[in-house]
Homo-oligomer: 201 residues x 2
DNA sequence: GTCTATAAATCGATAGAC
DNA sequence: GTCTATCGATTTATAGAC
């Protein structure tokens, strides 16, 4: 049992390294431009070895998405219960923007059908996605009850709008411009998202 | 001259058909998943003939982007001068959301470097991009002077935020949900963008 | 300029030895 | 499980006849 467990741990460490590499490459180049050869080279193993761990390129991407959803769930759970719902939502959104700005947010093309199939077939992915959505959804409705978030906006729209910050191109544009540091960019985008472009009087 | 002009017109019609097909395919599948074979089949000509009109796949994409920028410039010019700047900005943003929702907004991966090179090397693209940016930028600063748009937000951030509505995934998600018609979706996303998620009191 | 046919390169995936 | 070597399919791009 001890040797089996050790072996499993070695395996897990290697698979973690693979998923981390996939995560980085997905964030850098996206799914279509990421090649399995690159992933193998990045991890330092042969491509055939990689396919002993993951059945396909789509499975690699799904594993990276599960990883980032797990991190998201952890950030959600780390929010103090006494905090107002709006603040929790902003904190999670801020975290997502920071991850994206750090070049560590994997991005998937929603058009790719083979990828969609793989994701929808992954129980770990679906379960985590529902868990995250449910928790954020509860906060959204609480914030709307509080009057902090506009009750006229369907909670579904609020959820999608927050989710979309993870692949918002605006932070990248502002970073490329070089006029603002990361914290300022996050503050600007977060404020634009929650306050809107129009003046508040 | 007349025959030459006629020939040129025939050529132009064919090239317009090519660019329209590219535009549709870019909107549907994105640059990486769009193949030149598909474009040729869609237009109804051989692939080799296509390459007589455009030098590369990147050149095809650039032509589609020039097309949509031209349309954008037309929409901008069609705004009545007496309209308040904020209303003009909202009208243009609304138009972009409608085009995207209709599946006619070409989308390019900002990560692809060969594509970036092609776009930056296209004078027509750069000129139109600057023209559109300058006109929108002037309206943004006017709206900030009016107090309609928050003067605390750098105009650059406002511009990027409006530009980003052209590739916002939220309209597509809402459409896939099937609970709202196109006009409602546009209204919701537009309101979220300009008013923000938080309540206005 | 349009076609058929094919070159040239890339990439996902696998065979088979160790 | 890891490796080397390679298959098979796809895709961009071009050659050459008409």
């Amino acid at each position: 049992m001890a040797r089996g467990s050790f072996r499993e741990q070695v395996l897990k460490v290697r698979e973690d390294a693979i998923v981390a590499a996939v995560n980085r490459l997905l964030a850098e180049k996206g799914f279509d431009l990421m090649t399995v050869d690159e992933v193998a080279a990045d991890v330092g193993i042969a491509k055939a070895s990689l396919y002993k761990h993951f059945a396909s390129k789509e499975a690699l991407a799904a594993a990276a998405m599960v990883r980032v959803l797990r991190l998201t769930a952890e950030v959600i759970e780390a929010q103090p219960p006494s905090t107002p719902a709006l603040d929790k939502l902003q904190a999670v959104t801020r975290w997502a923007l920071q991850v994206q700005l750090a070049g560590e947010m994997p991005t998937l093309p929603s058009q790719n059908s083979s990828l969609r199939t793989e994701l929808l077939g992954s129980k770990a992915y679906i379960d985590l996605l529902m868990q995250v959505s449910d928790q954020l959804g509860a906060w959204i409705e609480q914030a709307q009850t509080d009057g902090a978030i506009d009750p006229a906006i369907p909670s579904e729209v609020v959820l999608y709008t927050i989710f979309a910050r993870a692949c918002d191109p605006v932070p990248g544009f502002l970073k490329a411009g070089g006029r603002y540091d990361d914290k300022t960019i996050v503050d600007l985008v977060l404020a634009t998202c929650f306050n809107g472009l129009q003046s508040r009087r």
